[in-house]
Structures are given as C-alpha cells and as structure tokens.
C-alpha cells in the first residue's frame, strides 16, 4: 500500500508537469483559420491523454528504479509473480475504449475541418519546381501571391505541373499535396488579417526549401482592389511580365542581373553571346529563347547544365500558349 501511494504521488506530479509543458498555445503557431480551431481543440485533448500516460509509465519506472533497487550482495530472487489476468484484460480493454473514443472525436473533427461552404471562393493553386501560382477563375486573374478575403471560405483546387508538392501554411494548420494529373481540394477560412508564408511541404528537388509564396489575408474591399490590379494587362510587353510572374518563370530567373540563381538572369540576355556547357557560343535571339523555353535541354548554358540536364521543367511548351511565350520573349527583349 505504501508503494501504491508513493507511485500515485509521482504520477500525479509528472502529469501536472506534462500538462504544463504540453499546452497548444505554447507549442503551435498562431491560430489563423476556422479549421485550426477544431484541430487545436483535438490537439489539446490528445495532449491531456499523452501527459497522463507518459506520467503513468515513467512514474512507475522511476519509482521502481529508485525503490526496488537490489541491495548489494542480495542474491535472492524477487517475488514470483507470473501475471494477473484481470489486470491484463483491463490494460487491453481500457486503451481499446480510449482509442475508439479518440477515433470518433477524430472523425468528427475531420468532418468539421472539411465542412464545405457553397459560396466558397474557388482558387486554382498550381505548384511547379519551384514556384506557386494562383488563379482566380471567377475573376480571370492570376497571381504569384495568394490573397484571401478574411472570414470567407476559400476552396483551393491544388495541382502540380511536374513533381509532388504540398500546400502548407502552418498558421492555417491544414496541408494538401499537389499531385500532377489530379486536382486535390483544400478548404480554408482565414480569420486573421495579416501576412503568412505558404511553404512547400513535400520534397520536390533542389530548391524545395525555398519554394515559398506570400499569403495575404485582407478585408473584402482590399481583396476587390487586388483583383482589379491583377487583371491581365492590355499592353503586350506588360503582359509578358505578367506571365513571367504568374507562370513560374520568376522562381528561377531574376531580372536584376544577380548570378547564382537556379537559372540564368534575364537582364541583358537578349542579343548577348551565351556560352554553352560545351564551350560553344550562341547568339541569344528570339529563336534561341523560344527553343530554350520549350526544350530546355537543347542548349545547356555554361554553369547550369553540369549534370547533362537542365534543372528547368520540360513542359512549358504545354503549359504556356505560343502567344504567351512570344509575349514573354518580347518582354525579355526590353530588359537591358
């Protein structure tokens, strides 16, 4: 009996300590979506049980290690206890019940997280190595930045142009892979007006780490303004720049002339002499640029093809229309 009281005290102490450490507010990022509320609630239930079970086993072990140490020179065996069937049934049955309860709570939470709003704002999210683009089909605009109206459910239709990626904003809690050839849904109702970072959460190659995009949650009016400002420009040169930003080129090619990017800079490219991996020189004219967009492996620029392959996806010939490609090239020509 003495031992039982002792160990119960140790367990109680450890449980309180565990509950103190394991509070969702200390451990999770800011809660910024309606879905996160349900998920964080489930986290806190789980943390209660984890704190208790950790304390239970560790308490019994710590107590045993301290109290039931063999005295030096004591060669006797301990008491012969082979087992106890009611006890075994209890510690099989009770966890089973707890597990089923948690599975039911888990299912309900999932249902709440997935609950659709018929008036949700549809946004098409495309991941490609290594950039995100967002299309608002209702308004016919595209952007390299995800802008969401606050307190309105967004239905994200997520896909990929090349390899797997995953959409994750830690403050929204929910995550969804982007799979080529499939469209996956994710519903998010942002509740806080501020900036977030969207991060790719499924390894996607060389620049996976840096495949991030800005997310901005704004009031309804500011969202309208964003849509107005994001319309496809009428000027073909400006349109080229628009495609550059929204179709993925920007992820790897800069326009400030800085070296060390994934792909060569666009600044001063047009009309220049480009040195290739095999040492030969080519003149960067429209034909060269068009070929490099559609078939990046055809001519490997020195410093960007040491492996014998270009890092650039080979499918821009499909994802861009010929007009878009021409407009992009037209815009690159202006970058002196």
């Amino acid at each position: 009996m003495k031992h039982v009281i002792g160990v119960v005290l140790v367990i109680a102490l450890l449980t309180v300590g565990g509950l103190f450490v394991l509070t969702p507010a200390n451990l999770l990022p800011v809660q910024a979506s309606a879905q996160a509320v349900f998920i964080d609630q489930l986290f806190s239930y789980q943390f209660y049980v984890i704190s208790f079970l950790f304390a239970l086993i560790m308490g019994l072990m710590i107590y045993s290690v301290i109290v039931f140490r063999r005295k030096p020179g004591d060669m006797e065996d301990a008491q012969h206890i082979e087992g106890n069937t009611p006890l075994e049934l209890a510690w099989t049955g009770i966890p089973l019940v707890i597990v089923v309860i948690f599975a039911i709570i888990g299912s309900n939470t999932l249902a709440s997280v997935l609950r659709p709003d018929p008036k949700a704002l549809e946004i098409k999210v495309t991941g490609r190595q290594w950039a995100w683009t967002f299309e608002y089909p209702e308004y016919g605009v595209s952007s390299d930045k995800l802008v969401l109206p606050v307190n309105k459910q967004a239905l994200l239709l997520i896909t990929s142009d090349d390899v797997l990626h995953a959409f994750w904003v830690p403050e929204f809690r929910v995550k969804q892979d982007a799979v080529p050839g499939a469209i996956n849904q994710l519903r998010i109702t942002p509740t806080k007006e501020r900036k977030f970072k969207l991060m790719c959460a499924e390894i996607c190659g060389r620049d996976h780490t840096f495949m991030v995009a800005d997310v901005q949650v704004v009031k309804e009016e500011a969202f309208k303004e964003f849509i107005e400002n994001s319309k496809v420009p009428t000027d073909p040169i400006a349109r080229g720049e628009y495609w550059y930003r929204t179709q993925g080129c920007k992820a790897c090619h800069n326009t400030d002339g800085a070296a060390g990017g994934v792909g060569p800079t666009y600044k001063g490219l047009y009309g220049s002499q480009v040195e290739l991996e095999d040492g030969s020189l080519v003149f960067a004219d429209e034909l060269y640029m068009k070929e490099s967009i559609i078939n990046p492996n055809a001519k490997l620029v020195k410093g960007y093809g040491a492996t014998g392959k270009s890092a650039m996806p080979g499918n821009f010939g499909n994802s861009l229309t010929p007009e878009q490609i021409n407009e992009i090239i037209g815009w690159i020509e202006t970058l002196k």
Binding site: L42, A78, E82, R206, H208
Partner: protein, 635 residues
C-alpha cells in the same frame, strides 16, 4: 607467426570485391555492345549501363566470395559438405571476412556491417545537422547536396537497422531455441553477403549525382532524379532480397528446430518477436522491391507506371511503398522490444509479467501493422473516404503496444533491480520508445496529422521509435551477450558513461525535433529562412546529435578494448535461466550438438523455488549421432 600470413587474395572479401569490379565492367560493356549491335542512339542517360553493371557486379561479388560454390558444385554433380568446418590453420579473424555458414559468425558479420553503416549514416546526419544550426546555407552549395546527405542518412540507416536485426536474430535465435544452427545455413551466408555489394552500390550513389528525393523516393521526382537514384533503388532491392531470405530461415528454424520440450509458449520471448518480424519480412518486402523496380523500369524503359501523361498514377507508388515500409517499422522495432522483454526479468529477478500476452502482442502488432499503411498518405490526395478507416486501424496499434508497456512496468515492479549497463539500456529503451509511442496517435489521427505531416514532429516521432525500439535494445543486447560472444567482460564504467551521455542527449534531440515541427519546421529542408523561433531548437538538436556521436565512439572503444584485453567473463554472468549460458563462451561451432537439453519448465520462473527451465540430456559416447536441433537439411 605462420598464422598471420594468411594470403589476402584468398580472403572471401577480397575475391568478392574483385568479382564486383569484373562484374561491373562486364555488365556495363554488355549494355554498350547491345546498343552498338542494335544501333540504338545514345539517349542521354547512363541508367541502364549502371543498373546492369550493378547487377553483374553483385553476381560477381557473390561468386567471388564463395556464396555460390556449393550450389555450383551440386549442379555439376560434385559432392557438397552440409556444414563445412573452418580450416583450423586459419587465423580466427579470417572467418569473419569469408563466406561462413556458422550462424554466430554470420550474426557478428551482420553486427559489424550494421555498425559500419550506422556510423556512415550517422556522419551524414552530423554534417547536415551542422548545416541546420544557422539560417542560410553554409556547408552545402545547393539544396541537392543537402538532399543527398539527408536522403542517404535515411536509407543507409534503414539498411543498417535491417542488418542489426539480422545480427540479433541470427546470433540469438538458434542459441535461444537450442538449435545447432539455422535451418538453411548456406542461404543464411548468402543473405548476409549480398548486403555487402548492396551497401557498396547504395553508397556509390553519392558519387553518381546523388539522390534528391528523401528515402521514400516518390515519383515523379525520383524519375527525374540523377543517376544516383538507380544505385539507391538497386542497393535497397538487394537488401530486400537478404531480408526475405533471412525471414524464411528464421521461420523454418523456429518452427522445426526447437529443443525437445520447448513448446511455443515456452520459447524465450525474443524468439516470438523474431518470428513475428520474419513473417513481416517474408510477406511485405516484395512490395518495396516491386515499387522500386517499377520506378527503375520507368526510368530505363519509359514504362509509365507512375506518369499521369502515360496513364500512370503517382499515388499508386505510395500505396505499394508503404505497404512494405510501414510494416517494416515493426520489423525494425519488434526484435528490440523482444530484447527488452528478455532482459527485464533477468535484471529484476522476477518472471516476465503476462508472458502469453506479451508474446501475442508481438503477433498483434505485426498483424495490425499490415492494415495501417495509408496513414502515411493522409494528405496525398488518395480517396478521401479511406482516411477514416486507416485512422481507426492506426490507433488500434496502441492497444498491443500498450500491453507491452504495462507488462514491462509490472515486471520490474517490486523486483530486485540490478542496474548494470544492459539493464540501463533496456530501461532507457522503454523510456524512449514511450516518447515514440505516445507521439504517434496525433499523427495517426487525420485532423491533427494535416498539421504534423511532413514536419519535424514526424522526424522526432520516428527517431524516438527507432532509438527506443532498435538502437537502445541493440546496444543492451550487445552489452548483455558480449561475454557470450567474446568470453570477456566489457568495461562497466564506460558502459554507464555511454548510457548517461546517450540517454539525456536523445531526449533533448527528440523533444527539440518535435517542438520545431509543431512550430512549423518542415521535413527535408536545408534552411528555415525567417523562422527565428527555430534557431534554439535546431542548435540544441545539433549539440545533442554530437553527444550521441561521442557516446557511440565510447561504445566502440569499450567493445574493442574489452574484446582484446577484457577480464575473462564468468560462465553465466547475469544468472540467467536461458540455455545459451550453459555453453562455454565463446560458443563452440555447433552450439548444443554435444550438449543437448530438454525444456521442462517456464523460461522466466525467477523466484520460484526448485523450478528449472531445462535439464541437460546426457550424451552417449557416439558423437556422430545427430542430436537435437541438427540442421534439417542442405539448402
């Protein structure tokens, strides 16, 4: 001095490596010749050249090392010895570098290879842990260099763990069931040696462009990955073959070769876990082999298994991959949990609490483990309705795992605990596996997993299960059976120093990783720009990783020095009831052939006056009679 002049060219290892190089050249030449004859244009990749080269190299290695000798001889109608004896004129180290059929030699070969690979993979981890101390890229020039180290850390560790499992099951299972060897000694030798070319191929990917996919190698990324990816696939494929062969051997040995009187419920508890493990390896490994083979074919032959443009589906790969790779987790941990169950009674001087429940819980975990694989795919975009049933099955694993924890705690409760190094590692294993186990349900529950998936929380979770379920018990087993293996005692003080470095360091590492993950640290990234809240956890994890590295160096030093000049060990240093301790240490080649025994009682009846686990069977003059547990046949 004659003993030291063993010709190095006669050594199986040397011949194997020569065979490897010749095979590689032949295989590569073959592909080039076929290309020339068929006038195929060079298609820009060397995938086929290296894969065929690697396959031929493996065959060359196996031929060179002598693993195929008996089969070739028997095919030619020559006489084959069932269990050839080593030439007594050889120095004793030779047998560890040559093809051997003695399960104890094979066990030690597995253990040493496992430690080599654990060290290599550990070094990879230390390199990228230094990278992660600070924001920005410091060591690696590109993300792909980081990806290569991170991916190889993962997959080499997995290979090393499988070899460690091989070490434990091969060395221990026959000794614990009273057999003179495994059922198929030659398959056993083959299964070990194929790991050597496999490891060489796997590590060669470092020099062939690397691997940038993480250990899961999901297509389409793995289809576009550099050439190193093929060597990665081929290496793991061969380790898988070893795993299947080893599993068959364990099952047959346990079923047919138990000592007289050893019913299933009188087997030492480790044997139950070895059996459960073997059932998983023989039935699930094919799926990872298949999934890797399909990506290899997609790369080499353009078959569009996982390419949506050709009617394939990337999600299919994930199903095939996890159908093995989740049960594989139980392959990694079950033997370790068996070691814990084996050691706690000895060092508590009390019976294992609820033997039958513990034995059945291993089979329970193995069985349920087959129905949970899709919990790795909750965010993958597979059919949404599948997520809920897989959540139920996943959470169900908690029940048999709980039985183990409660039984362990009940075993030490009111015992007479002897905290020698093996016991410290067993208890440490329980305390760490507990962290791994309890951090599991939030991943297994879909809603919370939507946040946790692919974060450092998962990294922390599975490192805790691997350390608690494999690393700690493996080290416990090494210290515990060290006197049996070498006949010498290890240094107790160094053993304790190692434990008290490793145990707290691991807690820091594990909690640091989980904390970072909850806060938003993604997996498999080289940097965490703009997330200053992660600086401290990353620094702590890196420091802990180096302390872990230091503790492993102390272990190596202890084992090496003790094996060379340790004090002679008593016959049964732990006063265990298990039969292997009645044999002299190191154990003679044929174990119990000259000293058979009959099981007459329960294995763990500590504290029951007058009880015996086994009695020795007196042997009559004729030593040539096959005694209990002789090999059931040649393979």
């Amino acid at each position: 001095m004659k003993k030291n002049q063993y010709p190095i060219l006669k050594l199986g290892m040397t011949r194997g490596l020569i065979g490897f190089v010749i095979g590689m050249l032949l295989g590569q030449a073959l592909v080039h010749v076929i290309r020339l004859i068929m006038r195929l244009p060079f298609n820009g990749t060397l995938d086929a050249v290296w894969v065929v080269g690697g396959l031929f190299a493996t065959i060359g290695f196996m031929y060179g090392v002598g693993a195929l000798d008996a089969w070739i001889k028997s095919a030619l109608g020559e006489e084959v010895t069932d269990h050839p004896e080593d030439d007594p004129s050889w120095p004793s180290w030779v047998r560890y570098f040559s093809f051997s059929v003695d399960h104890k030699v094979i066990g030690i070969q597995y253990a040493i290879t496992s430690f080599l690979l654990l060290s290599v993979a550990g070094l990879f981890a230390l390199v990228f842990r230094v990278e992660l101390v600070q924001q920005g890229l410091q060591i690696f020039k590109t993300g792909d260099e980081y990806n290569t180290f991170m991916s190889l850390h993962g997959i080499v560790m997995i290979g090393a763990i499988l070899l460690g499992i091989g070490a434990m099951t091969n060395y221990l299972a026959p000794l614990l069931i009273g057999a003179s060897d495994m059922a198929f000694p030659r398959i056993n030798g083959f299964a070990y040696w194929i790991n050597v070319p496999a490891a060489v191929l796997l590590l060669s990917s470092l020099f062939l462009g690397g691997v940038n996919t993480g250990w899961v190698a999901y297509p389409p990324l793995s289809v576009r990955a550099p050439l190193g990816m093929q060597m990665f696939f081929l290496g793991v494929y061969l380790i898988g073959i070893s795993s299947i062969m080893g599993g068959i051997n364990v099952i047959v040995s346990v079923v047919y070769m138990r000592a007289k009187g050893m019913t299933y419920f009188r087997m030492p508890i480790f044997v139950w876990t070895a059996l459960a493990t073997a059932i998983i390896s023989t039935t699930a490994t094919q799926l990872i082999g298949l999934s890797f083979q399909m990506v290899m074919f997609q790369r080499m032959l353009g078959m569009g298994f996982f390419d949506p443009a050709k009617g394939g589906n990337p999600i299919l790969y994930q199903h095939l991959f996890w159908f093995y790779s989740h049960p594989a987790v139980y392959v990694f941990i079950l033997p370790g949990l068996g070691i814990i169950s084996e050691l706690l009674p000895v060092f508590s001087r009390k019976p294992l609490f609820g033997y039958r429940w513990v034995a059945m819980s291993s089979l329970g975990i193995a069985l349920v483990g087959f129905f949970v694989w899709a919990h790795h795919m909750f965010t993958s975009g597979m059919e949404e309705y599948l997520r809920v049933p897989f959540m139920y099955s996943t959470l169900l694993v908690a029940v048999p795992t709980g039985v183990k924890f409660f039984s362990w705690v009940a075993t030490i409760w009111k015992g007479k605990l002897d905290l020698s190094t093996p016991m410290l590692f067993a208890l440490g294993g329980v305390a760490i596996f507990l962290v791994g186990g309890l951090s599991g349900p939030p991943n297994g529950t879909v809603a919370t997993d939507l946040h946790l998936h692919d974060t450092y929380y998962i990294v922390g979770h599975f490192h805790a299960t691997m350390f608690g379920g494999f690393i700690f018990p493996f080290m416990a087993a090494l210290y515990y059976w060290f006197p049996k293996i070498t006949g010498k005692m290890y240094n107790e003080r160094l053993g304790k120093v190692q434990f008290w470095l490793l145990f707290p360091a691991f807690y820091v590492q594990s909690f640091g990783q989980m904390f970072a993950g909850l806060l938003g640290m993604r997996r498999r990234v080289a940097d965490y720009p703009g997330m200053s809240q992660l600086n401290t956890p990353h620094l702590l994890v890196t420091i802990a990783a180096f302390v872990i590295g230091l503790s492993v160096l102390i272990l190596f030093y202890n084992l090496w020095v003790s094996a060379v000049k340790g004090a002679p060990a008593p016959l049964n240093p732990w006063r265990s009831r298990s039969p292997e301790w009645m044999l002299p240490s190191p154990t003679p080649v044929h174990n119990f052939r000259d000293q058979p025994f009959e099981v007459v009682g329960e294995p763990y009846d500590y504290g029951l006056a007058g009880s015996k686990y086994y009695v020795e069977i007196p042997v009559h003059g004729d030593a040539g009679t096959p005694a209990a547990g002789a090999a059931v046949g040649a393979d």
